[in-house]
């Protein structure tokens, strides 16, 4: 099978990227040292090609009403133009189809950004639901758009240096808010736990934008560092920390699910009928080694499993997200089965690091 390419594929190769198959996409895993790239983002700033992610626009009368039903989080939290919300989209049985960010632009235009690997099934699901609940809506997959994330304490300044025309519209943005600046849709969002912007732009403009950022001193960052940055920031990765077999309450995402209001949404009945028996916690390895996904976590209250684990460059320790019996408490010591050994790890509250600092 031929791997899919973003419009920056040649640029990555020119910059010496090591390319890997990431869910069918030919993507840069690093441009040298993953750990250096990780620190670069926490200490200065870096840029990520996230053009494999998909932008979906929903236009028409009654988008809000439709999204109130489609998404587990409540779009009524979005009342100011540009404001964004993180949400899961659920199957009726409560499993997570995808996690996404939805932007309220106008009452007749909401924009959704979904994961690459799930984009086609997401759009099929949205269209299927719209056909029966809001057939007047137009759901458009914006495959002609690219996306670049610029993240780190100096990210805003670098973006304004390269795109000065966006500064006036974006310097007053709140966290989780976007401004539509013509060709450049600039959102104060990210997947690193640092300040920064995610910029959606026409694929035809992305190579020039990328090169100009690079000339301004912004280093390219691969998917490897993206993964350790998001893990330190305590952010879930779809397909790893949750999927269609897991409901958001057992994926550490209860804060994104609105069960209290009278609003009905797809999956709500199943969530109410099945109180969670497990929960997500953070782990810090006390012994020497590296925590990885699928390792078993043994606690006094039963067995759990690591969903994401790695080495934390910020903490210089191994950390993980794990799904464990809900009775396990912060501060408990548990044992993780790594090869032929049982190693000690401590249950902690996550995130592990944000805004340049370790929090553990």
């Amino acid at each position: 099978m031929t791997l899919k390419q973003t419009p920056l594929n040649a640029a990555h190769r020119t910059m010496g990227a090591k390319m890997v198959d990431f869910g069918g996409w030919d993507m840069p895993v690093n441009y040298g040292s993953q750990i250096d790239e990780h620190h670069q983002v926490r200490r200065d700033c870096g840029m990520f090609d996230v053009s494999h992610m998909r932008t979906v626009d929903i236009h028409g009368e009654g988008v809000r009403t439709f999204l109130r039903y489609l998404l587990a989080n409540n779009v009524d939290k979005l009342q100011t133009s540009g404001k964004a919300l993180y949400s899961c989209m659920l199957r009726p049985a409560g499993g997570v189809i995808d996690d996404l960010i939805v932007y309220f632009m106008r009452e007749d235009w909401f924009r959704i950004v979904v994961n690459a690997g799930t984009a086609d099934k997401d759009i099929a699901w949205m269209k299927e639901q719209a056909a029966s609940h809001a057939p007047q809506l137009k759901i458009t997959s914006r495959n002609e758009l690219a996306m670049v994330a610029v993240q780190g304490p100096n990210a805003h300044a670098k973006v304004w240096q390269v795109l000065p025309q966006t500064k006036a519209a974006t310097e007053g943005l709140q966290i989780f808010q976007a401004a539509d600046c013509g060709d450049y849709f600039v959102a104060r969002t990210g997947y690193t736990g640092e300040e920064g912007f995610e910029i959606i732009l026409p694929a035809t403009l992305v190579e020039a934008f990328w090169d100009n950022l690079h000339k301004a001193g912004v280093a390219p960052i691969g998917l490897g560092a993206r993964d350790t940055l998001r893990l330190e920031a305590g952010m879930n990765l779809y397909g790893q920390d949750m999927d269609e077999t897991i409901n958001p309450l057992e994926a550490g995402l209860a804060w994104t699910v609105d069960l209290k209001s009278e609003r009905d949404f797809i999956g709500k009945a199943a969530l109410l009928a099945n109180p969670p028996t497990r929960k997500m916690v953070g782990l810090v390895l006390l012994d020497r080694g590296v925590l990885r996904g699928h390792q078993q976590v043994h606690s006094a209250q039963g067995v759990g499993e690591i969903t994401s684990g790695s080495f934390s460059p910020t903490l210089e320790k191994s950390i993980a997200l794990a799904r464990v019996p809900k009775e396990v408490q912060i501060g408990d010591t548990v044992q993780v089965a790594i090869r032929d050994k049982m190693l000690n790890a401590k249950i902690v509250k996550y995130p592990f690091a944000r805004n340049g600092k370790g929090l553990i």
Binding site: V29, S33, Q34, T228, R288, G289, F311
Partner: protein, 130 residues
Amino acid sequence: MSNNPSNLKYAASHEWVKTEADGTVSIGISNHAQELLGDMVFVECPAVGRKLKAGEECAVVESVKAASDVYAPISGTVTAINPALDKAPEAINTDPYGSWMFKLKPDNAADINSLMDAAAYQAHVDSEAH
């Protein structure tokens, strides 16, 4: 491009083997292997005194990205492990051929002749890339 020292021997599983003056052999992982794995963060070596069979899993190198097994290139008994890699596993990235992981006393010194030389190993790496 080959940057594999010609005085070493190589296993298909990407370990290098160096014959020391005292008749033991030092074992590490090749430049190609460290490039594939990326930034090293943890090394687990076999216990001194352990008897290894050729091809046996005996050590682990872990990068930020993944854990990878290291295999005994030849049969022998572990006589030493490199303590420096405990604190500085990244030395494998910066100096793969200076960063031995463990030493073996070979069961049969002639076994080393069954391993690849630098040119044959490079050909093996090139063939894996296609």
